[in-house]
Amino acid sequence: MPHAPDRLSPLHDRHVAAGAAFTDFAGWQMPVRYTSDLAEHAAVRTAAGLFDLSHMAEILVVGPQAAEALDYALAGKLSAITEGQAKYSLLLSPDGGILDDLVVYRTGADRYLVVANAANREVAAQELRERAAAFDCLVEDESDDIALIALQGPRSEEILRNVEGFDLPGLDDLKYYRAIPCDFRGHNVLVARTGYTGEDGFEFYLAPDAAPALWDAIAETGAGSGLVPAGLAARDTLRLEAGMPLYGHELSTETFPVQAGLGRVVALTTKPGDFVGRAAVEAGPAAGARVLVGLRSEGKRAGRAGYPVMHGDTVVGEVTSGALSPTLGYPIAMAYVDPEVAAPDAPDAAPALDIDVRGSRVAASIVPLPFYKKDSAHD
Protein backbone atom coordinates (compact mmCIF):
# COMPACT_ATOMS: atom_id res chain seq x y z
CA MET A 1 0.00 0.00 0.00
CA PRO A 2 1.60 3.30 -0.99
CA HIS A 3 1.56 5.92 1.69
CA ALA A 4 2.84 9.40 2.27
CA PRO A 5 6.15 10.01 4.06
CA ASP A 6 6.14 8.94 7.68
CA ARG A 7 3.64 10.75 9.82
CA LEU A 8 4.61 11.96 13.25
CA SER A 9 2.49 11.93 16.36
CA PRO A 10 1.84 15.24 18.14
CA LEU A 11 3.86 13.63 20.96
CA HIS A 12 6.86 12.82 18.77
CA ASP A 13 9.17 15.30 20.53
CA ARG A 14 8.32 13.69 23.87
CA HIS A 15 9.29 10.28 22.56
CA VAL A 16 12.56 11.52 21.09
CA ALA A 17 13.42 13.23 24.37
CA ALA A 18 12.66 9.99 26.24
CA GLY A 19 15.06 8.10 23.99
CA ALA A 20 12.45 5.99 22.22
CA ALA A 21 13.24 3.61 19.39
CA PHE A 22 10.73 4.06 16.59
CA THR A 23 8.97 1.73 14.22
CA ASP A 24 6.93 2.34 11.13
CA PHE A 25 3.33 1.53 11.91
CA ALA A 26 0.81 2.05 9.11
CA GLY A 27 2.84 4.99 7.85
CA TRP A 28 3.42 6.50 11.28
CA GLN A 29 6.68 6.72 13.18
CA MET A 30 5.60 5.41 16.58
CA PRO A 31 7.62 4.48 19.67
CA VAL A 32 8.29 0.73 19.77
CA ARG A 33 10.07 0.95 23.13
CA TYR A 34 11.67 3.59 25.32
CA THR A 35 14.21 1.61 27.32
CA SER A 36 13.13 -2.00 27.78
CA ASP A 37 9.96 -3.61 26.47
CA LEU A 38 9.99 -6.11 29.35
CA ALA A 39 10.20 -3.33 31.94
CA GLU A 40 7.41 -1.43 30.19
CA HIS A 41 5.28 -4.56 30.08
CA ALA A 42 5.90 -5.24 33.77
CA ALA A 43 5.06 -1.65 34.69
CA VAL A 44 1.63 -1.98 33.08
CA ARG A 45 0.96 -5.23 34.96
CA THR A 46 2.11 -3.92 38.34
CA ALA A 47 1.77 -0.11 38.26
CA ALA A 48 0.98 1.83 35.08
CA GLY A 49 2.12 2.58 31.56
CA LEU A 50 1.50 5.56 29.31
CA PHE A 51 0.94 4.90 25.61
CA ASP A 52 0.73 7.19 22.61
CA LEU A 53 -1.88 5.77 20.25
CA SER A 54 -2.36 8.86 18.14
CA HIS A 55 -2.00 6.77 14.98
CA MET A 56 -5.40 5.18 15.61
CA ALA A 57 -8.24 6.36 13.35
CA GLU A 58 -11.29 8.18 14.69
CA ILE A 59 -14.40 8.45 12.56
CA LEU A 60 -17.45 10.42 13.70
CA VAL A 61 -20.94 9.32 12.73
CA VAL A 62 -23.43 12.07 13.53
CA GLY A 63 -27.10 12.63 12.76
CA PRO A 64 -30.66 11.59 13.57
CA GLN A 65 -30.09 8.17 11.99
CA ALA A 66 -26.53 7.56 13.17
CA ALA A 67 -27.64 4.58 15.28
CA GLU A 68 -29.55 2.96 12.41
CA ALA A 69 -26.65 3.58 10.05
CA LEU A 70 -24.20 1.83 12.36
CA ASP A 71 -26.63 -1.05 12.95
CA TYR A 72 -26.55 -1.57 9.19
CA ALA A 73 -22.82 -0.89 8.73
CA LEU A 74 -21.39 -2.92 11.61
CA ALA A 75 -21.87 -6.39 13.08
CA GLY A 76 -23.11 -5.25 16.49
CA LYS A 77 -26.27 -3.57 17.66
CA LEU A 78 -24.96 -0.09 18.24
CA SER A 79 -28.45 1.38 18.66
CA ALA A 80 -28.68 -0.61 21.90
CA ILE A 81 -25.83 1.14 23.67
CA THR A 82 -26.64 4.21 25.68
CA GLU A 83 -24.91 7.57 25.73
CA GLY A 84 -21.58 7.16 27.49
CA GLN A 85 -21.29 3.47 26.61
CA ALA A 86 -18.72 1.82 24.37
CA LYS A 87 -18.88 -1.42 22.39
CA TYR A 88 -16.35 -3.60 20.61
CA SER A 89 -17.53 -4.28 17.07
CA LEU A 90 -16.57 -5.53 13.63
CA LEU A 91 -16.73 -4.08 10.15
CA LEU A 92 -17.66 -7.06 8.01
CA SER A 93 -17.36 -7.47 4.28
CA PRO A 94 -20.47 -8.66 2.40
CA ASP A 95 -18.91 -12.15 2.29
CA GLY A 96 -18.49 -12.31 6.06
CA GLY A 97 -14.79 -11.50 6.33
CA ILE A 98 -13.47 -8.94 8.80
CA LEU A 99 -12.42 -5.58 7.30
CA ASP A 100 -11.57 -4.12 10.70
CA ASP A 101 -12.24 -4.46 14.39
CA LEU A 102 -13.38 -1.30 16.14
CA VAL A 103 -14.40 0.27 19.38
CA VAL A 104 -17.53 2.40 19.07
CA TYR A 105 -18.38 5.06 21.66
CA ARG A 106 -21.82 6.59 21.85
CA THR A 107 -21.00 10.16 22.76
CA GLY A 108 -24.49 11.59 22.28
CA ALA A 109 -28.05 10.63 21.37
CA ASP A 110 -27.21 11.06 17.68
CA ARG A 111 -23.42 10.89 17.88
CA TYR A 112 -20.91 8.06 17.74
CA LEU A 113 -17.11 7.92 17.68
CA VAL A 114 -15.79 4.91 15.77
CA VAL A 115 -12.16 4.04 16.52
CA ALA A 116 -10.48 2.00 13.80
CA ASN A 117 -7.02 0.54 13.32
CA ALA A 118 -4.52 2.93 11.74
CA ALA A 119 -3.82 0.56 8.87
CA ASN A 120 -7.54 0.34 8.08
CA ARG A 121 -8.36 4.02 8.33
CA GLU A 122 -9.21 4.52 4.66
CA VAL A 123 -11.16 1.30 4.36
CA ALA A 124 -13.16 1.96 7.50
CA ALA A 125 -13.97 5.57 6.60
CA GLN A 126 -14.87 4.68 3.03
CA GLU A 127 -17.08 1.73 4.01
CA LEU A 128 -18.84 3.70 6.71
CA ARG A 129 -19.49 6.54 4.28
CA GLU A 130 -20.95 4.23 1.65
CA ARG A 131 -22.98 2.18 4.09
CA ALA A 132 -24.37 5.27 5.82
CA ALA A 133 -25.26 7.04 2.58
CA ALA A 134 -28.91 5.98 2.70
CA PHE A 135 -29.31 7.22 6.28
CA ASP A 136 -29.76 10.71 7.65
CA CYS A 137 -26.29 11.14 9.14
CA LEU A 138 -22.79 12.35 8.34
CA VAL A 139 -19.56 10.35 8.44
CA GLU A 140 -16.45 12.40 9.14
CA ASP A 141 -12.92 11.06 9.33
CA GLU A 142 -11.55 13.09 12.23
CA SER A 143 -8.32 11.10 12.63
CA ASP A 144 -6.08 14.07 11.87
CA ASP A 145 -7.76 16.16 14.55
CA ILE A 146 -7.84 13.65 17.39
CA ALA A 147 -4.88 12.39 19.41
CA LEU A 148 -5.12 9.35 21.67
CA ILE A 149 -3.24 8.68 24.89
CA ALA A 150 -3.77 5.54 27.00
CA LEU A 151 -3.02 5.15 30.69
CA GLN A 152 -3.09 1.45 31.58
CA GLY A 153 -2.36 -0.56 34.70
CA PRO A 154 -3.66 -1.16 38.21
CA ARG A 155 -2.55 2.26 39.47
CA SER A 156 -4.15 4.17 36.57
CA GLU A 157 -7.15 5.49 38.48
CA GLU A 158 -5.08 6.69 41.40
CA ILE A 159 -2.71 8.50 39.03
CA LEU A 160 -5.55 10.00 36.99
CA ARG A 161 -7.20 11.41 40.10
CA ASN A 162 -4.03 13.27 40.98
CA VAL A 163 -3.44 14.93 37.61
CA GLU A 164 -3.55 18.66 38.21
CA GLY A 165 -6.13 20.56 36.20
CA PHE A 166 -8.08 17.49 35.12
CA ASP A 167 -11.75 18.00 35.93
CA LEU A 168 -13.25 14.50 36.04
CA PRO A 169 -16.90 14.61 37.07
CA GLY A 170 -18.38 11.14 37.02
CA LEU A 171 -15.09 9.27 37.39
CA ASP A 172 -16.42 7.55 40.53
CA ASP A 173 -19.10 5.85 38.47
CA LEU A 174 -17.06 5.29 35.32
CA LYS A 175 -17.23 1.56 34.66
CA TYR A 176 -15.36 -0.56 32.12
CA TYR A 177 -16.35 0.30 28.53
CA ARG A 178 -17.88 3.63 29.55
CA ALA A 179 -16.72 7.10 28.54
CA ILE A 180 -17.34 10.61 29.86
CA PRO A 181 -16.55 14.07 28.49
CA CYS A 182 -14.09 15.89 30.75
CA ASP A 183 -12.06 19.06 30.81
CA PHE A 184 -8.28 19.22 31.03
CA ARG A 185 -7.08 22.80 31.47
CA GLY A 186 -9.72 24.15 29.10
CA HIS A 187 -9.48 21.34 26.54
CA ASN A 188 -12.26 18.84 25.89
CA VAL A 189 -11.14 15.27 26.55
CA LEU A 190 -13.21 12.14 26.11
CA VAL A 191 -12.12 9.91 29.00
CA ALA A 192 -12.88 6.24 28.33
CA ARG A 193 -12.34 3.27 30.59
CA THR A 194 -11.10 1.08 27.77
CA GLY A 195 -7.82 -0.43 26.69
CA TYR A 196 -5.91 -3.21 25.05
CA THR A 197 -3.73 -4.56 27.83
CA GLY A 198 -5.95 -6.70 30.05
CA GLU A 199 -5.58 -4.20 32.89
CA ASP A 200 -7.76 -1.46 34.25
CA GLY A 201 -7.05 1.79 32.49
CA PHE A 202 -8.18 4.80 30.56
CA GLU A 203 -7.97 6.19 27.07
CA PHE A 204 -8.03 9.92 26.37
CA TYR A 205 -9.26 11.35 23.07
CA LEU A 206 -8.34 14.99 22.60
CA ALA A 207 -7.10 17.63 20.19
CA PRO A 208 -3.51 17.07 19.03
CA ASP A 209 -2.34 20.46 20.30
CA ALA A 210 -3.54 19.61 23.82
CA ALA A 211 -1.92 16.16 23.85
CA PRO A 212 1.63 17.14 24.92
CA ALA A 213 0.37 18.93 28.05
CA LEU A 214 -1.76 15.96 29.07
CA TRP A 215 1.09 13.52 28.35
CA ASP A 216 3.47 15.58 30.52
CA ALA A 217 0.92 15.96 33.32
CA ILE A 218 0.22 12.22 33.52
CA ALA A 219 3.91 11.32 33.23
CA GLU A 220 4.82 13.70 36.05
CA THR A 221 1.93 12.63 38.27
CA GLY A 222 2.59 8.94 37.77
CA ALA A 223 6.37 8.94 38.00
CA GLY A 224 6.30 8.37 41.75
CA SER A 225 3.79 5.54 41.33
CA GLY A 226 5.87 3.48 38.92
CA LEU A 227 4.36 4.80 35.70
CA VAL A 228 6.60 4.66 32.64
CA PRO A 229 5.99 5.49 28.98
CA ALA A 230 5.38 2.24 27.13
CA GLY A 231 5.84 1.45 23.46
CA LEU A 232 4.11 -0.69 20.89
CA ALA A 233 6.29 -3.72 21.69
CA ALA A 234 4.91 -3.86 25.23
CA ARG A 235 1.42 -3.16 23.93
CA ASP A 236 1.67 -6.22 21.68
CA THR A 237 2.83 -8.63 24.40
CA LEU A 238 0.22 -7.21 26.82
CA ARG A 239 -2.66 -7.72 24.40
CA LEU A 240 -1.38 -11.19 23.50
CA GLU A 241 -1.36 -12.28 27.16
CA ALA A 242 -4.87 -10.85 27.46
CA GLY A 243 -5.96 -12.97 24.48
CA MET A 244 -7.01 -9.94 22.44
CA PRO A 245 -6.89 -10.29 18.66
CA LEU A 246 -4.79 -7.97 16.51
CA TYR A 247 -6.00 -7.07 13.04
CA GLY A 248 -3.64 -8.47 10.41
CA HIS A 249 -2.68 -11.33 12.72
CA GLU A 250 -5.78 -12.96 14.19
CA LEU A 251 -8.28 -11.04 12.06
CA SER A 252 -8.43 -10.58 8.29
CA THR A 253 -10.79 -10.40 5.35
CA GLU A 254 -10.42 -14.21 5.17
CA THR A 255 -11.60 -14.71 8.76
CA PHE A 256 -15.21 -15.18 9.79
CA PRO A 257 -16.00 -13.78 13.25
CA VAL A 258 -16.93 -17.22 14.57
CA GLN A 259 -13.50 -18.57 13.65
CA ALA A 260 -11.88 -15.88 15.78
CA GLY A 261 -14.16 -16.63 18.72
CA LEU A 262 -16.07 -13.42 18.02
CA GLY A 263 -19.44 -14.93 17.17
CA ARG A 264 -20.97 -13.06 20.14
CA VAL A 265 -19.97 -9.73 18.54
CA VAL A 266 -22.33 -10.35 15.62
CA ALA A 267 -25.90 -9.42 16.62
CA LEU A 268 -27.66 -12.07 14.55
CA THR A 269 -30.50 -12.61 17.02
CA THR A 270 -30.90 -9.15 18.55
CA LYS A 271 -30.79 -7.18 15.32
CA PRO A 272 -33.82 -8.07 13.19
CA GLY A 273 -32.85 -5.95 10.19
CA ASP A 274 -30.25 -6.57 7.54
CA PHE A 275 -26.65 -5.54 7.96
CA VAL A 276 -23.58 -5.90 5.79
CA GLY A 277 -22.25 -9.44 6.07
CA ARG A 278 -25.36 -10.87 7.69
CA ALA A 279 -26.26 -13.49 5.07
CA ALA A 280 -22.66 -14.71 4.82
CA VAL A 281 -22.27 -14.96 8.60
CA GLU A 282 -25.56 -16.85 8.86
CA ALA A 283 -24.36 -19.30 6.22
CA GLY A 284 -21.11 -19.62 8.17
CA PRO A 285 -17.59 -20.44 7.03
CA ALA A 286 -16.82 -23.56 4.98
CA ALA A 287 -16.94 -26.85 6.85
CA GLY A 288 -13.63 -27.57 8.53
CA ALA A 289 -12.62 -23.89 8.72
CA ARG A 290 -9.86 -23.37 11.24
CA VAL A 291 -10.55 -21.81 14.62
CA LEU A 292 -8.50 -19.60 16.89
CA VAL A 293 -6.94 -21.25 19.95
CA GLY A 294 -4.40 -20.42 22.62
CA LEU A 295 -1.20 -22.48 22.80
CA ARG A 296 1.12 -22.86 25.73
CA SER A 297 4.60 -24.38 25.46
CA GLU A 298 7.39 -25.31 27.80
CA GLY A 299 10.88 -23.84 27.62
CA LYS A 300 11.68 -20.44 26.22
CA ARG A 301 11.23 -20.73 22.47
CA ALA A 302 8.10 -19.02 21.24
CA GLY A 303 6.11 -19.88 18.18
CA ARG A 304 5.73 -16.81 16.00
CA ALA A 305 3.40 -15.60 13.28
CA GLY A 306 3.49 -17.97 10.33
CA TYR A 307 4.99 -20.98 12.10
CA PRO A 308 3.20 -24.28 11.35
CA VAL A 309 1.26 -26.11 14.05
CA MET A 310 1.70 -29.87 13.79
CA HIS A 311 -0.23 -32.92 14.95
CA GLY A 312 2.18 -35.76 14.42
CA ASP A 313 3.51 -35.20 10.91
CA THR A 314 0.43 -33.33 9.72
CA VAL A 315 0.21 -29.56 9.53
CA VAL A 316 -3.03 -28.71 11.35
CA GLY A 317 -2.66 -24.97 11.78
CA GLU A 318 -0.58 -21.83 11.83
CA VAL A 319 0.53 -19.45 14.55
CA THR A 320 -0.76 -15.87 14.18
CA SER A 321 0.97 -14.25 17.20
CA GLY A 322 3.40 -15.59 19.76
CA ALA A 323 5.94 -14.56 22.36
CA LEU A 324 7.66 -15.70 25.49
CA SER A 325 5.07 -14.33 27.92
CA PRO A 326 6.79 -11.72 30.09
CA THR A 327 4.26 -12.14 32.89
CA LEU A 328 3.84 -15.91 32.81
CA GLY A 329 7.39 -16.90 31.90
CA TYR A 330 6.46 -19.52 29.30
CA PRO A 331 5.84 -19.24 25.55
CA ILE A 332 2.30 -18.43 24.48
CA ALA A 333 0.78 -18.18 21.04
CA MET A 334 -2.48 -17.73 19.27
CA ALA A 335 -3.03 -19.99 16.28
CA TYR A 336 -5.68 -21.08 13.84
CA VAL A 337 -6.03 -24.86 13.89
CA ASP A 338 -8.28 -27.47 12.33
CA PRO A 339 -11.48 -27.90 14.38
CA GLU A 340 -10.72 -31.60 15.00
CA VAL A 341 -7.71 -30.67 17.15
CA ALA A 342 -9.07 -27.44 18.66
CA ALA A 343 -10.42 -28.76 21.97
CA PRO A 344 -8.41 -27.67 25.02
CA ASP A 345 -6.08 -30.34 26.37
CA ALA A 346 -7.07 -31.89 29.67
CA PRO A 347 -4.98 -30.47 32.50
CA ASP A 348 -1.90 -32.68 33.07
CA ALA A 349 -2.34 -34.35 29.68
CA ALA A 350 0.72 -34.50 27.43
CA PRO A 351 0.66 -31.69 24.86
CA ALA A 352 -1.25 -32.85 21.80
CA LEU A 353 0.36 -30.52 19.28
CA ASP A 354 3.76 -29.21 18.25
CA ILE A 355 4.85 -25.87 16.90
CA ASP A 356 7.50 -26.06 14.22
CA VAL A 357 9.95 -23.47 15.54
CA ARG A 358 12.39 -22.95 12.68
CA GLY A 359 12.77 -26.65 12.06
CA SER A 360 12.57 -28.01 15.60
CA ARG A 361 9.44 -29.23 17.30
CA VAL A 362 8.22 -27.52 20.46
CA ALA A 363 5.34 -29.31 22.21
CA ALA A 364 2.26 -27.14 22.70
CA SER A 365 -0.95 -27.58 24.68
CA ILE A 366 -4.20 -25.90 23.79
CA VAL A 367 -5.30 -23.72 26.68
CA PRO A 368 -8.31 -21.43 27.12
CA LEU A 369 -7.94 -17.73 26.28
CA PRO A 370 -7.02 -15.35 27.78
CA PHE A 371 -3.62 -16.56 28.97
CA TYR A 372 -3.57 -13.84 31.61
CA LYS A 373 -6.45 -12.40 33.56
CA LYS A 374 -5.98 -9.55 35.97
CA ASP A 375 -6.59 -10.10 39.65
CA SER A 376 -10.34 -9.64 40.09
CA ALA A 377 -9.62 -7.50 43.15
CA HIS A 378 -8.85 -4.70 40.68
CA ASP A 379 -12.29 -4.84 39.10
Binding site: A21, V32, R33, S36, D37, L38, A39, H41, A233, D236, T237, K300, R301, A302, R304, A323, L324, P326, R358
Partner: protein, 123 residues
Amino acid sequence: MTEPSADLRYTAEHEWVAVDGDVATVGITAYAADKLGDVVYVDLPKTGSSVAAGKVVGEIESTKSVGELFAPVEGEVVEANQAVVDDPTLVNSDPYGSGWLIKVRFTALPELMDAEQYAKLAV
Protein backbone atom coordinates in the same frame (compact mmCIF):
# COMPACT_ATOMS: atom_id res chain seq x y z
CA MET B 1 28.33 -1.49 30.09
CA THR B 2 31.74 -2.40 28.76
CA GLU B 3 32.91 -0.04 26.01
CA PRO B 4 33.89 -1.72 22.75
CA SER B 5 37.64 -2.01 22.53
CA ALA B 6 39.21 -0.11 19.64
CA ASP B 7 40.65 -3.23 18.02
CA LEU B 8 37.35 -5.10 17.67
CA ARG B 9 36.46 -6.38 14.21
CA TYR B 10 32.91 -6.42 12.87
CA THR B 11 30.74 -8.36 10.43
CA ALA B 12 27.90 -7.18 8.23
CA GLU B 13 25.60 -9.28 10.45
CA HIS B 14 26.34 -6.92 13.36
CA GLU B 15 28.68 -9.20 15.25
CA TRP B 16 31.87 -8.11 16.90
CA VAL B 17 34.99 -10.28 16.96
CA ALA B 18 37.86 -9.94 19.42
CA VAL B 19 40.97 -11.83 18.34
CA ASP B 20 43.41 -13.22 20.88
CA GLY B 21 45.98 -15.51 19.28
CA ASP B 22 44.00 -18.15 17.42
CA VAL B 23 40.80 -17.68 19.44
CA ALA B 24 38.03 -15.27 18.39
CA THR B 25 35.49 -14.12 20.95
CA VAL B 26 32.18 -13.28 19.27
CA GLY B 27 29.22 -11.19 20.40
CA ILE B 28 26.59 -8.97 18.84
CA THR B 29 26.94 -5.20 18.75
CA ALA B 30 25.01 -2.76 20.92
CA TYR B 31 23.31 -1.60 17.72
CA ALA B 32 22.07 -5.13 17.01
CA ALA B 33 20.98 -5.65 20.62
CA ASP B 34 19.02 -2.39 20.56
CA LYS B 35 17.33 -3.37 17.32
CA LEU B 36 16.26 -6.70 18.78
CA GLY B 37 14.90 -5.31 22.02
CA ASP B 38 15.02 -7.25 25.27
CA VAL B 39 16.70 -10.59 24.59
CA VAL B 40 14.84 -13.44 26.28
CA TYR B 41 16.47 -16.54 24.81
CA VAL B 42 19.89 -17.39 23.43
CA ASP B 43 20.72 -20.62 21.66
CA LEU B 44 24.45 -21.24 21.21
CA PRO B 45 26.47 -24.02 19.57
CA LYS B 46 27.96 -26.68 21.83
CA THR B 47 31.55 -26.56 22.96
CA GLY B 48 33.62 -28.72 20.62
CA SER B 49 31.33 -28.27 17.62
CA SER B 50 32.70 -27.12 14.29
CA VAL B 51 31.39 -23.96 12.72
CA ALA B 52 31.74 -22.67 9.16
CA ALA B 53 32.16 -18.96 8.46
CA GLY B 54 28.93 -17.26 7.40
CA LYS B 55 26.72 -20.13 8.58
CA VAL B 56 23.98 -19.78 11.19
CA VAL B 57 25.15 -21.34 14.45
CA GLY B 58 22.73 -19.90 16.99
CA GLU B 59 19.74 -17.72 17.72
CA ILE B 60 19.17 -14.61 19.74
CA GLU B 61 15.51 -14.16 20.47
CA SER B 62 13.76 -11.09 21.86
CA THR B 63 10.12 -10.65 22.76
CA LYS B 64 9.56 -9.17 19.30
CA SER B 65 11.85 -11.03 16.96
CA VAL B 66 14.50 -13.63 16.29
CA GLY B 67 18.06 -12.81 15.30
CA GLU B 68 20.43 -15.38 13.89
CA LEU B 69 23.98 -15.77 15.08
CA PHE B 70 26.37 -16.28 12.19
CA ALA B 71 29.81 -17.73 12.72
CA PRO B 72 32.23 -15.02 11.59
CA VAL B 73 35.12 -17.49 11.36
CA GLU B 74 35.63 -21.15 10.60
CA GLY B 75 36.85 -23.33 13.42
CA GLU B 76 35.94 -25.11 16.63
CA VAL B 77 33.82 -23.70 19.44
CA VAL B 78 36.00 -23.76 22.54
CA GLU B 79 33.48 -22.09 24.83
CA ALA B 80 29.85 -20.97 24.76
CA ASN B 81 28.88 -18.36 27.34
CA GLN B 82 26.67 -20.20 29.83
CA ALA B 83 26.08 -16.96 31.76
CA VAL B 84 24.29 -15.44 28.79
CA VAL B 85 22.22 -18.60 28.28
CA ASP B 86 21.15 -18.36 31.92
CA ASP B 87 20.60 -14.59 31.76
CA PRO B 88 19.98 -13.45 28.17
CA THR B 89 19.51 -9.82 29.29
CA LEU B 90 23.34 -9.60 29.42
CA VAL B 91 23.20 -9.24 25.62
CA ASN B 92 21.39 -5.92 26.12
CA SER B 93 23.07 -4.72 29.28
CA ASP B 94 26.69 -5.55 28.39
CA PRO B 95 26.99 -6.63 24.75
CA TYR B 96 30.77 -6.06 24.57
CA GLY B 97 31.50 -7.55 27.99
CA SER B 98 29.65 -10.22 29.92
CA GLY B 99 27.18 -10.55 27.04
CA TRP B 100 29.74 -12.22 24.73
CA LEU B 101 28.42 -15.38 23.06
CA ILE B 102 31.06 -17.83 21.84
CA LYS B 103 34.81 -18.34 21.57
CA VAL B 104 36.02 -20.04 18.41
CA ARG B 105 39.51 -21.42 17.73
CA PHE B 106 39.87 -20.47 14.09
CA THR B 107 42.01 -21.78 11.28
CA ALA B 108 41.95 -18.63 9.19
CA LEU B 109 40.72 -15.12 9.86
CA PRO B 110 38.54 -13.65 7.09
CA GLU B 111 38.49 -10.00 6.13
CA LEU B 112 36.37 -8.13 8.70
CA MET B 113 35.40 -4.51 9.18
CA ASP B 114 37.06 -2.13 11.58
CA ALA B 115 35.10 0.20 13.88
CA GLU B 116 35.09 3.03 11.36
CA GLN B 117 33.76 0.85 8.55
CA TYR B 118 31.17 -0.73 10.82
CA ALA B 119 29.94 2.66 12.08
CA LYS B 120 28.74 3.43 8.54
CA LEU B 121 26.62 0.30 8.61
CA ALA B 122 25.12 0.69 12.06
CA VAL B 123 22.91 3.69 11.50
